[in-house]
Symmetry: C2
Subunit: 275 residues, 2 copies
């Protein structure tokens, strides 16, 4: 828990920390005021980087509803003038919020607020699963062992007919016993699990689970099992999960998902120990 995080949204809901409240005068003179305040000796003001102040201002604009999801922000040039910062700093602020999935800038068109859906905000999440190695990868799998069974059980209860069709179609794309390496299998495998979790109707759950899944890791799993001639086992797992879903049997679904994640976890454990 480092201090002063870039994502300190708490501030949005607190009444302007320390320095006397400049409660939104006319937008026109905001820039001038900021410049003025910078001129006079204000140690507290100069403390926080200009760029961060800019991000905070934008976040405040969103939190206050001044700009809603999907709406367009003022021009970079306008914003920088309004906030009394240079366009470079303004751009860095926008870049930060873009990276967080809060903003989205379209070349020549303008800067827009995203839909602010869980999937938007959690896109950065996937970094973890991607860079993780060894021990951390095991930890990630352990978290998935907690989530996937519960999610699969929920899906068994909630999935619509179309959801099940989609899952079934992806299951067919996952190879059975063939020994030719196929990128499509990895994608289908990933899509299979994502489709299941998505059919719970909980977008947040889906986004979190997606973040914990990684293409490269899945590829490793398939490669490892292929080498050991165990790809059939993986297919059995998937079929068992699918059957439970079609039967709308939450308990069976939970069990099948647990078995699957555990298999992968055990394999990774052994694989890490071996190398």
């Amino acid at each position: 828990m480092r201090g002063r995080s870039m994502v300190d949204w708490y501030d949005l809901f607190r009444p302007e920390g320390s320095h006397g409240g400049t409660l939104d005068p006319k937008p026109d003179i905001l820039g001038a005021m900021d410049r003025l305040e910078r001129a006079v000796s204000d140690p507290d003001r100069g403390r926080t980087p200009v760029t961060q102040r800019a991000t905070d201002r934008i976040k405040a604009m969103i939190a206050s509803g001044e700009v809603g999801p999907g709406e367009r922000l003022p021009t970079e040039r306008d914003l920088s003038a309004q906030f009394g910062v240079s366009r470079s700093s303004m751009r860095e602020a926008i870049r930060a919020l873009t990276t967080l999935g809060v903003l989205e800038s379209r070349h020549g068109a303008g800067v827009y607020v995203t839909a602010l859906r869980p999937a938007d905000l959690l896109e950065t999440f996937s970094v973890l699963a991607e860079v993780s190695q060894g021990r951390t990868l095991l930890e990630v799998l352990q978290v998935r062992r907690m989530l996937e069974p519960a999610a699969t059980a929920l899906a068994a209860a909630r999935a619509s007919a179309e959801d099940l069709d989609r899952v079934g179609a992806l299951l067919d794309r996952i190879e059975g016993g063939s020994d030719t390496f196929c990128t499509d299998t990895v994608a289908a495998d990933l899509g299979f699990h994502q489709a299941i979790v998505a059919s719970t109707g909980n977008a947040t759950l889906a986004a979190v689970n997606d973040g914990l899944s990684s293409r490269t890791f899945n590829a490793r799993v398939w490669a490892g099992h292929r080498e050991a001639g165990l790809t059939a086992k993986l297919r059995e797992d998937h079929e068992r999960i699918h059957e439970a879903l079609v039967a709308r049997d939450p308990d069976a679904a939970r069990a099948a998902a647990t078995v699957h994640v555990l298999r992968v976890e055990r394999w990774l454990s052994a694989d890490l120990a071996g190398s």
Copy 2:
């Protein structure tokens, strides 16, 4: 799943997509080569924004082990020269990676790679819980209902004596039946659950769970229960959880945690329906 995400770490492990592989010649002439390539008509090259190319280069440096966790990168000026981009673009690239928790720049000292621990990478995660409202907040709680019971059960089995002491100390700081509003209670409540999850020894789990918790939301929960005179119920929940932990009883811990999360979830449901 938007195209071309800023966090497309997959590329790190693929053999340089399209344009003929420039497999790391002398670092000295890299900049010159980039400038040259930009000069000639290369439509494919100009497609991807310069800034993104810069972030990719840095990520590649980390993935290849050229710079490890905690180590210092070359100066912004050196990097920009080396990559053949302006310092402004270089700074935006660094800003993006800083936001993701991959880099950390210290004024006057240099830019460093973080420890790349789960907590570093998931700091951005908290945005979700903070901006979420209504339906999404319920979804977040639903995910916590899957994680916390499992985590608490795991903690009952794994927590060290020091862990339990810490949890107990935080429990004492959570108020009982007093009706005076106390910020400390919210902080202690948050810390209580975080300490439990942390004592599972799974840093990834802890980081994910932390990301799903929000100070402002917890404050709302306490305020709501105080209004209804139900703060004693919350305290009972916490005591029950603590007892299960000291008794090292995973099943009891799981049940107690489930009861607690469910209580909060039901309250939120009612609260949302009322407003």
